[in-house]
């Protein structure tokens, strides 16, 4: 006996979000798909921190951290404020936390 499967191509096609949104969504997840960036975000869960300290804490070069923060900034996942020579980064909002919690649930299934 045959189970039900999708034959209505047009119906399914219509249910798909538009390409732009699918692209944006993939771009967002791509950002979480790197351990350095994930670590940076986890650090910022604890509060704000300057670039050099993040670099030291993760044993990564200052340049690498800066490059990654640029990406996080570009996606509006983090904010920053300058205080003299130092720049402190922090989470932009609570979305990051939610997204990471979502993924963590699957991992710890």
């Amino acid at each position: 006996m045959t189970e039900q499967h999708l034959d209505d191509f047009e119906g399914v096609k219509a249910a798909l979000p538009d390409d732009e949104m699918l692209y944006d969504l993939a771009e967002l997840y791509k950002i979480f798909g790197d351990t350095t960036r994930i670590k940076l975000l986890y650090i910022l869960f604890e509060g704000e921190m300057c670039v050099q300290h993040m670099a030291e804490l993760l044993s990564v070069s200052q340049s690498a951290v800066s490059h990654q923060l640029r990406i996080l900034k570009g996606s509006r996942l983090v904010r920053y404020r300058r205080e003299g020579k130092t720049v402190y980064y922090s989470l932009a909002d609570d979305h990051v936390r939610q997204i990471i919690e979502c993924g963590t649930e699957h991992i710890n299934e």
Copy 2:
């Protein structure tokens, strides 16, 4: 006046999940960070579908779809059942939906 920022390296370090979990988490998000895979998952939101139909629907080669399904299978995000020559894929559980909804919220902020 100085705002509060993190100085307690050891404290923050202790708050970080272990490397293995951070790695797994990044690997999971990496999977969602590709438009073809996101589209496949969205299709499966509607129900189960065979490989060739997915390929046609997305205008991607059968081989490409199969390769991507392999990755999705590997992360236990999709299931499959064989019916004769045909293999039908479907979502493994509701985690996928939750994770994607989480990301969508940030996009539509």
